[in-house]
Symmetry: C2
Amino acid sequence: MDRRQQKTRKAIFSAFNNLLEKKHFNNITVQEIIDEANIGRSTFYSHFETKDELLKEMCTDIFDHIYSHELHSETSHDFSLSDHGLLEKIAHLLYHLKDNKENVIGILSGESGELFMRYFKEYLVTMFEQYPQSIKKDVPKDFAMNHLVGSLAEAVKWWIAAKMEPKPETVAENYLKLIGL
Amino acid sequence: MDRRQQKTRKAIFSAFNNLLEKKHFNNITVQEIIDEANIGRSTFYSHFETKDELLKEMCTDIFDHIYSHELHSETSHDFSLSDHGLLEKIAHLLYHLKDNKENVIGILSGESGELFMRYFKEYLVTMFEQYPQSIKKDVPKDFAMNHLVGSLAEAVKWWIAAKMEPKPETVAENYLKLIGL
DNA sequence: TTTGATAATGAACATGTTGTTTGATATCAT
DNA sequence: ATGATATCAAACAACATGTTCATTATCAAA
């Protein structure tokens, strides 16, 4: 990829992140991104068709990053515990989010997080599908899955609002207690 | 209140609802609301300063409505059950939401629901505070509260996405099972 | 190093939205 | 009937959007 493209793409992402920390996604204008990134108007539009697409690509970047790490680093499969490794997996996920702290906080703070959360929940569904024993049997399956995913997403939001200070292991542990594992 | 004001206010609310069913809040313009409501431009701005304020007032209307009903209809306080009446309360809440079906679906469908959900969660916090025994003691209190509120909110979203077809009692029951009550 | 390709630029453009103002008109409560 | 006030249409400046185009700068590869 052309160095010039990389440079502007990076500039746009960085500018967008700065703005997301200050104000809500909806209230950020393309013009502001252009100014903050210090690029030409037509340059922005040659990279992204819309502001939404920019956010979308930013989200996929983050999750691609997490996915690839998940694949490489196989967690110690200690099936002696009741959660069958779920705790480690969740803690692991939280560590990854912490690595992307600047991006994640930028996107999620304020109300800009819906799109991000959609992607995040998709990821969580695939994750929980690997742990069928976490799904309670006495309620409809999709309702149970919705509960697992939704409440973990809420827990993560809580954690981020708490500046990611509580230890990932602690958060994961408390979460598992609350969903009854 | 002047009949004229009532009339236009109603027209604006109705127009806004119609539009919310078709498209996302962000993509609705004030102009569209004005056209749909068939009112003068300056008239809209004499009622609401911004589009956000309109949404906000719509949410408060709904919750004021629910609150007032909650106060009058005291549920049968059957403390013989483990949930101490929580089940009835939640089912009751779901029935109220169903009464406001058109409004609630309009606001919540798509991604227009964040603001609504914020109000909703505030309401849920006050609700759960009346049921201290529902808060697990072995995790931090705010984390537990966040879990109760967040997961109920998610359950409601699921229920709405399922067209409010499952019976409120069933949903409430399943929810209580999942949070371990 | 030259060169052909491609990315960035800035300016201009038509179009649409926003929020305000103004003076005329219609409707209200009393 | 009348004074108050809500509505209206029209116009306004300010700004955002997305596109076009000619020019300039930078690249990768021969």
